[in-house]
């Protein structure tokens, strides 16, 4: 039998090695899955992981698209990682993302079709504020009534989704849209459009903000007192209290930050790649970002890489569907396995596996 022994601090070697190992194991397991579906496993793996980055046919397009797909995931996940480190569990990023998009779009629609340089900055503020305000609901309920923030933030996702549908069908419906649900295309409305900053790079303001957030988070967590407090609160809540950390303030900070970043992500998406609000606007970024945060070990650089990896499986998965005729479900299963293996192997970085009997309990 084996016994687990907690490491005093996570092993650096294993922290770096486990993701690579997990990807390799997933490739093997995924290959078996694809083979049982009657598809060439080697080709499928190559199409998912290699072609989007390096093939002549797709790479020049897919590489920028990788940034577009991963940008919101990274931005949201960086915000969430602060709370997760401090034991503040915001799992309602999806809702904050939706509300941010709704607020940003509302500003754009309010000014339509007037010109004005100030419209886009106002949308940015509105998007961040919307996400922040939506996250403040669980924050205030937590600090005021000790209400569990996991549950409140999750419940508010459903409310936000219904609100989105109501808006897409009602107040924000495009009057020139032939009666179909969905707002006006605000990415075609120049003062509100979140356009590509440099042609064919995929870089739009949301992606730039995501990169800034990664750097900001890295500095905060490693060089700043607040980051120290966040880590301390997570690892040793009692010690944190002695160090003068006010738990209430920390909850408000963590939820507020992740809410604002999620709201920004939603707003940038609505004004850029998506171009508009529609019933299906929320494509699960908020939930996927939670997974990305954990895959990245709650570390900003890790999140950056995890976000890109997730994005790659989406884009590569589409190419595999297209060229091999793999069903979309096979890609979903493949992604699920990747997550399982990453989560499972994480054990190695936090614990030492020692031979010996597990203590009978």
């Amino acid at each position: 039998m084996m016994r687990l022994e907690k490491r005093p601090s996570p092993s650096r070697l294993w922290t770096a090695a486990t993701p690579v190992l997990a990807v390799v194991v997933t490739m093997v397991a995924g290959g078996i899955l694809f083979a049982t579906l009657g598809k060439d496993p080697v080709a499928a793996i190559r199409l998912i992981f290699w072609d989007p980055l390096f093939s002549e046919q797709y790479a020049s397009y897919s590489r920028p698209q990788l940034l577009v797909k991963s940008g919101p995931l990274i931005l949201i996940a960086v915000g969430l990682s602060f709370g997760f480190r401090a034991n503040v569990w915001n799992i309602g990023a999806e809702g904050q993302y939706i509300i941010g998009a709704l607020c940003g779009t509302a500003v754009a629609l309010a000014f339509y079709p007037a010109p004005g340089w100030y419209i886009f900055p106002l949308m940015v503020i509105a998007g961040a504020f919307g996400g922040w305000a939506w996250a403040m609901i669980p924050a205030i309920l937590k600090t005021r009534f000790r209400t569990n923030e996991i549950l409140v933030s999750l419940l508010l996702v459903y409310v936000a989704e219904k609100l989105l549908a109501a808006m897409a069908l009602g107040a924000m419906r495009n009057p020139d849209g032939g009666g179909f649900p969905g707002s006006r295309n605000i990415s075609r409305y120049e003062p509100a459009a979140n356009t590509e900053l440099i042609a064919n790079t995929g870089l739009h303001w949301g992606v730039v903000t995501a990169f800034i957030a990664v750097i900001f988070a890295y500095v905060m967590l490693h060089k700043h007192m607040l980051g120290f407090h966040v880590r301390l609160a997570g690892q040793a809540p009692r010690a944190a209290r002695f160090a003068g950390v006010r738990p209430g303030a920390l909850v408000v900070f963590c939820l507020g930050l992740s809410g604002a970043l999620s709201g920004l992500a939603g707003m940038f998406e609505a004004a850029g790649p998506a171009g508009r609000i529609s019933i299906d606007f929320a494509a699960g970024y908020g939930f996927t970002a939670i997974i990305v945060a954990f895959l990245g070990r709650l570390h900003p650089i890790g999140i950056l890489l995890a976000g890109l990896l997730m994005g790659l499986t989406y884009i590569g998965g589409e190419i595999a569907q297209l060229t091999l005729g793999l069903p979309a479900a096979a890609i979903q299963v493949f992604q699920g396995m990747l997550l399982f293996f990453l989560l499972a192997l994480d054990l190695l970085s936090n614990y030492r596996v020692r031979p010996g009997r597990r203590e009978m309990t």
Binding site: Q57, L169, G179, R188, A274, D280, I319, Q321, P327
Partner: protein, 358 residues
Amino acid sequence: MKHARLLTGALMALALAAPAAAQDDPVKVGFIYVGPVGDFGWTHEHDLARQAVEEEYGDAVETSFVESVPEGPDAERVMTQMALSGTDLIFATSFGYGPAVNNVAERFPDVAFEHATGYQQDHPNVSLYNARFYQGRAVIGHIAGHMTETSTIGYIASFPIPEVIRGINAAFIHAREVNPDVEFRIVWAYSWFDPAQEASAAEALIEQGADILMQHTDSTAPMSIAEDRGLYAFGQASNMIDFGPNAQLTAIIDNWAPYYIERVGEVMDGTWEAGNVWTGIGDGTVAFADFSDAIPEEVRESAAALRDRIAAGDYHPFTGPINRRDGSEWLAEGEVATDEALLAMDFYVEGITSELPE
């Protein structure tokens, strides 16, 4: 500037369309679906049509598809990748793909695009196609008007958009025509597909006295409920006879195969041109499952006659006099609705008691 680009785009499309066909390589056709091919509804029928294309042309054609693609940036990416992989013709099978179709079409002027149920056509290589499902609804309305004993027909609707409202109106007008006492009970599910809710909706309608169910949602739940209760229903999108062997009076079947086969053929001989078509019973796009034996002989005949008159273009289901629900005149005696009016329909016709949700 913009015009210049459009023009060169058009020229390139013309120049490139021909050589694509001259090669011996199979024509590559891509399909992008909003749902899974296993939805047994909207996407399922599009995929059957894709298979029909493969069957028709064999090795001369190569089809591929990507399913469950959300509307928005994902759709744009998928279509771009299709274009990059050398696809000659792309069928985008959901209304919400409109902006993405036009964006991609601009960048790939030599790829032909076919967009279902949309209205945006900014480039010379974007074609629009739609089906006049309201024609089918007129026929089932006619049957329902004859068959109902309680004079109450239940209608499970999805979203209050013109397509759905048109269907309700067409069915209602033709049910009223044969049975002046007919009432419609309408429930909005606010979903295209939510089996459990559709089942509850069916029960609620039956409770309100409906003895015939119509649906504009994709699941077979209402059909199964009708079967259990010994009532009648009409299948939607697919033939649902297996789920209601006694209950199904007929079904409106989406049959995209004739159009897809025709358009793929045109790309093959280099004659494809962008168009904007709205096909119906006459073109085979709107098809019916066999009329049930439960329908009396003479009703089967009159329904078939109605179907054939619509197919031949002798009769338009929206022919005046028709008033709006509020009593104001919409179509005068003998006047036929224009396609523009139908595409923007946002009101119930006179006689429907409930209010249209906003």
